[in-house]
Amino acid sequence: MTTTTPPVPSHWARFRDSYLLYSFKRDLVAQTCLLVFVSMVAAAFLAPWLAPMNPYDLAQIDILSSELPPFWIAGSDPSYLLGTDAQGRDLLSTILYGARVSLIIGFGAVILQALIGISFGLLAGYLGGRVDAFLMRLADIQLSFSTLMVAIIVGAVFKATFGGETFSEYAVVLLVLIIGLAEWPQYARTVRASVLAERSKEYVDAARVMGFRAKRIMFRHILPNTLSPIFVISTVQVANAIISEAALSFLGLGMPETQPSLGSLIKSGFDYIQSGSWWITLIPGTVLVVLVLVINLLGDWLRDVMNPRLYKG
């Protein structure tokens, strides 16, 4: 008698038959959002080739063509599609480069907070006891201060310690650090909750009986089973990180004007809104809102599909 085991489906085949793809094909909002998101990311990262001019190159900037309006308003210059900012930089190019900076910081910060949060969450959930109590108390305290407040305080301390010059020079790295340090508790809590649920399952007992070390059980056995909530909060966290970065930059604790992100573009444009040049601040603002909105909508959709009971809000 021969038993034939069915062939193990490949990753692609599993993805093709998954509920994730099935519901994606039926959800017009999710498709539109993904399309918008992918094209925005592509445009931002292809900025050096797409942008009409390089806003970092001082030789290309002409102060005489400053505060030109976008193309649909009288008095515009056709070579500057979305007009120019107060320094005479082409607004379209500046936005493309700025979106790139915002996205890099957003993703970088989320990777950092995921690293910290997942490790702490695994430790707290798996080891329990004092480690758990300490880490979760730490997370509670930090969350009670709200992540933005922590980010502002850490940013202020960094700025005071390093001085304005050094801070501007390493702003990208420092912002990733600030936002990453401020928002890890979200990950830690989510991971801990699912680790607590997984820990009592039989496969973990089996692994323990087989003599695997705690580290291996945590990262190789439990972590893969907690991935879907991690996936869901990651989308929301990217949106949050981009907003946090914009807020910090708006307060002057973020990217300098010479290397603007969307937030610092909005900030520099705000000074000219009273003189009627609304586009310098509102066009980058619209880009920021659309970017964050599509990420949030994708996150909403992902949450409904992957884990309907993860959030209540």
Binding site: L148, M149, V157, A160, T161, A246, A247, I273, V292
Partner: protein, 349 residues
């Protein structure tokens, strides 16, 4: 109950202790107080004696204890910029922030409860869908951007002319799309009424109240969608529960079920989330006050960072920390009081 109270108080003290250590560490590591006091021309030997006199060479612990002793008496030293005790500077700026937060909270409470309850009772109505759609857009708009858009629309004014002016309704439609502007969007105005001490209020006269409108709407805009969604989700869950079904079966009027039976249990989680969000609200006052140049604590804090006014930064951190700790402790206590299922003494379930 007493044990729970003591536990919470101990927790609160622990958090304040951590905040004070962090604040002190910041103060200790940033800037040189001697430099600030005497300037460049004083010789090194005199600096050394001054340093010894002020106790700056003492071990960290001794210096911290001195800091803590002063902090308990609300003495955080002098602001470098204002040249007066930092607590007085804070007290002068506190009322502006509190009035702003009060106005925003009023807007949030009066709007989120009816909207949230309505969209839970009628989840499929077009109006509910509209509320939900607007709220996810609202979450995605940073508070400073809302503020800027409000300034553009209501303070500066917009004129849009997509329709031909020569037809009668064209100019009427253009007028409909355009706004006059003219709302004040800078500072608190000059018509403040003195209440007592350092408290000048915007609430006493109509002329000064208008200054509060745009900042309060901006500040409320960030929390409102969150609370609407939370109240809706909780209410939806409560409406599924057995006791609501039972009340329906008994024939109690729907209005009574919704507003007496269901709403009570909906508000429980809203209280906890609300308490935590007060912290977020304080963070957002920094942004709102920056946009509107509202002379509150947030703007003062940012200016202090710009001027490296370390004593003022430290005092702000301690005061804000105290506000957080007090509100969180109060929220926990209230939650314990209104929700009998919380075990007050034992470990959380």
């Amino acid at each position: 109950m007493i044990a729970f109270l003591i536990k919470r108080l101990f927790h609160a003290l622990l958090v304040m202790f951590i905040i004070s250590v962090i604040s002190f560490a910041i103060q200790d590591n940033l800037g040189d107080p001697i430099q600030q006091m005497v300037g460049q021309s004083v010789p090194e030997s005199e600096r050394a004696t001054l340093r010894e006199e002020l106790g700056l060479n003492d071990p960290f612990l001794v210096q911290y204890l001195r800091f803590a002793k002063n902090a308990l008496q609300f003495d955080f030293g002098y602001s470098y910029f204002f040249n007066e005790p930092t607590t007085e500077v804070i007290l002068r700026h506190l009322p502006a922030t509190l009035e702003l937060v009060a106005a925003a909270t009023f807007l949030i409470v009066t709007l989120s409860v009816p909207i949230g309850v309505y969209s839970a009772i009628k989840p499929r109505s077009p109006l509910s869908r509209l509320f939900m759609g607007v709220s996810i857009v609202g979450i995605s708009i940073p508070v400073f951007l809302t503020a800027i858009v409000l300034i553009q629309i209501f303070s500066i004014g917009i004129s849009i002319t997509p329709f031909p002016e020569d037809i009668g309704w064209g100019s009427w439609l253009n007028g409909l799309l355009s706004t006059e502007g003219g709302m004040p969007a800078y500072g608190r105005g000059n018509d403040l009424t003195h209440v007592f001490g350092t408290w000048y209020t915007n609430y006493a006269s109509w002329d000064s109240l208008v200054y509060l409108v745009l900042p309060a709407i901006s500040l409320a805009s960030i929390m409102l969608p969150l609370f609407i969604r939370l109240i809706r989700a909780e209410m939806l869950e409560v409406l599924q529960s057995d006791y609501v079904k039972f009340a329906k079966a008994k024939g109690i009027s729907m209005r009574r079920i919704y507003f007496l039976h269901a709403l009570k249990n909906t508000m429980l989680p809203v209280i906890t989330v609300g308490g935590v969000q007060i912290g977020t609200l304080v963070a957002f006052t920094i942004l709102t006050e920056t946009v509107f140049q509202w002379p509150g604590m947030g703007l003062m804090f940012l200016d202090a960072i710009e001027r490296s006014d370390i004593p003022l930064i430290i005092t702000y951190l301690m005061v804000v920390g105290l506000i957080f700790v007090i509100t969180n402790t109060l929220v926990d206590l209230i939650y314990g009081l209104v929700n009998p299922t919380v075990k007050l003494t034992g470990k959380p379930a």
